[in-house]
Amino acid sequence: MSFSTYKTDKAGLQKFYEAIIGACSTYAPVEKFGKYDYQKVAGLAACNPDSPIGNTMSIKPLFFPKSAKILKYKADSSGTEVSETTADPLAEKRVILGVKHCDARGLQVLDHVYKWDFIDTDYETRRNNTIIVSTRCDKAGEQCFCTSLDYDVEKSDAFDVLIVNGDNGTIYVQARTEKGEGFLKEHAGNLAAADGGAEEAMKKQYKSFEDSFRLKMNYEEINGKMKDRYESDEFDKVSANCIGCNTCAFICPTCHCFKISDERIKDEGVRYKSYDSCNNGYFTLMAGGHNPRPVKYRRWRQRAMHKFVYYKERFGVNLCVGCGRCAISCPVNISIFEVVKQVAK
């Protein structure tokens, strides 16, 4: 089915945003020390939906928090008592503004792992209760390569509402899902229906966006070759500089490994579920000392192969969405793009 497209201008878009923030619980990029993080906002002045991707944290923590309480317990001579923690603050009905296309795709990718077999109902609720409003970038970032991967960035339905900057200050607002269509019906009061030229203008914007990419790869070729590169010596070379800080995993929109840990004070305590990374030396260390991935190149191989081969094999989608954040944030300038290109050479 085709969804509605509206048009407006900068002032109109701001009004549209203001109306959403006024009516719904809204998250948007909020600046702090030059970096942006998605937070609940009370007005448009506090946030910037057009924040630059390189300086913006992904929306992953709104669906998979950095650290979540699993349970509280009390254990003493009279017995043990386990209680579940309080209501999930991320489960409310909400809207996220200024979501990058790659991050929205990241959620689509994560849906597979959270929905197979055991269903992560917390994630599912957060997902179902969220409207994602995504602005298409005008220009690719230094480390971006989303258009080179296994998904169609232009026709993506990873977000509910798409916003595109057209020519001469015209801004197009388009529903991309049923949920988005309903949402726009409710909130597009000040927007006018787009005319026939909208599709053309949006295509033109996409073309100029696509042409601005510095990094490009042939995904099918890389994916095909990586499958045979398990024994490659290149993993040793590309991982040589890694200091194992795990920044890449924590800011990645699709890394989803976690650990379970206990915090105890006397007879009481809390159990947490927090981010973890396969780049940690202890990640696979077992009691007794056996460790299947004791050295760095094996851990980097796991990271690169999981992103570009294993996840695709298992769930049919690539685990890397090409946002380039890991390359931007890496203290020793390791880029997953360069890693897979070199390994698959």
Binding site: V113, D120, G269, A287, P292
Partner: protein
């Protein structure tokens, strides 16, 4: 997800000191309803919590055919297992989530000769299947158990292996790595005894093996030499795990989730997987 990670409380009915560093914990859910509904198949595992100290993955070492309780046999090997050994007494409470994972292919084993090859604490997952098969003895043909450990003190389930030895429908071979004055059984590592003493028939036989990585490695080589088809050799893997639900990503070997697709694999399956276990 967070609800799925919350364990249910179990009471420790009994602690059996198997060896100097292995204890079997006999557990029962506090909620009787939960206990009667708790069904598992040989090969499955649970997440065992000592609240405040951590959660660990252990196979269930007893069979569902022996109702009312279930066993976890735990070797003191790391931080949490040391806490389990030093802090828990009979009557204490622990948290259990599960059962998780796949199980030994019970249907495929029917009508076959069974050969169990275990080493050290590796007998724990096999014990669940052995008990299950003994309780359904008519379904299987020849029944052989080869079990070894470093020394006679390191052999687990001493009372139970005696029972097995006294059971005329089972053939039980015990071995230790080095000779001892009071030991009148086989001496030698498991793969050696397998080839030189057990000399199993290949025809219609399924081998189920578990033990320390080094023993598994050489046992698989021995089985290759004896001419076993890798399809008929079944083992169970140990991997670091956290959630047991196919979410946390820790137990991945290639695109395989050991917690969901395993821990039971055939030797044939292992050959197609990256060697990261």
């Amino acid at each position: 997800m967070e609800q799925l990670l919350v364990p249910s409380l179990c009471t420790i009915e009994k602690i059996i000191q198997e060896t100097a560093d292995i204890r079997t914990y006999r557990l029962k859910f506090k909620d009787e309803n939960l206990m009667s509904k708790f069904q598992w198949l040989p090969g499955q595992f649970v997440e065992f919590s000592l609240l405040g100290y951590g959660e660990c993955t252990f196979c269930i070492s007893s069979s569902v055919t022996r109702k009312g309780t279930f066993d976890c046999s735990i070797k003191r090997a790391g931080a949490v297992t040391s806490d389990i050994h030093s802090r828990l007494d009979e009557g204490d409470e622990v948290g259990i989530r599960g059962p998780f994972g796949n199980n030994f292919p019970l249907e495929e084993l029917k009508g076959k000769n069974l050969l169990f090859v275990g080493g050290g604490i590796g007998l724990a997952p096999l014990r669940s299947l052995i008990q299950y098969c003994i309780d359904n003895r008519a379904d299987y043909k020849d029944f052989t158990i080869l079990y070894g450990a470093r020394s006679s003190d390191d052999l687990c389930y001493k009372e139970e292996t005696k029972e097995w030895q006294n059971n005329p429908s089972l053939k039980v071979i015990l071995t230790i790595d080095r000779a001892e004055d009071t030991w009148h059984n086989n001496v030698g590592v498991v793969p050696k005894i397998l080839e030189e003493v057990v000399k199993p028939t290949i025809e219609n036989t399924k081998v189920i093996t578990c033990g320390p990585p080094i023993m598994i490695k050489y046992t698989l080589q021995s089985l290759d030499r004896l001419g076993f088809d890798p399809k008929n050799v079944i083992t169970t893997l140990e991997m670091r795990m956290q959630c047991g639900l196919g979410k946390c990503g820790r137990c991945n070997i290639g695109s395989t989730y050991v917690c969901k697709d395993g821990p039971v694999f055939t030797y044939e399956q292992l050959k197609t997987m990256p060697d990261e276990y």
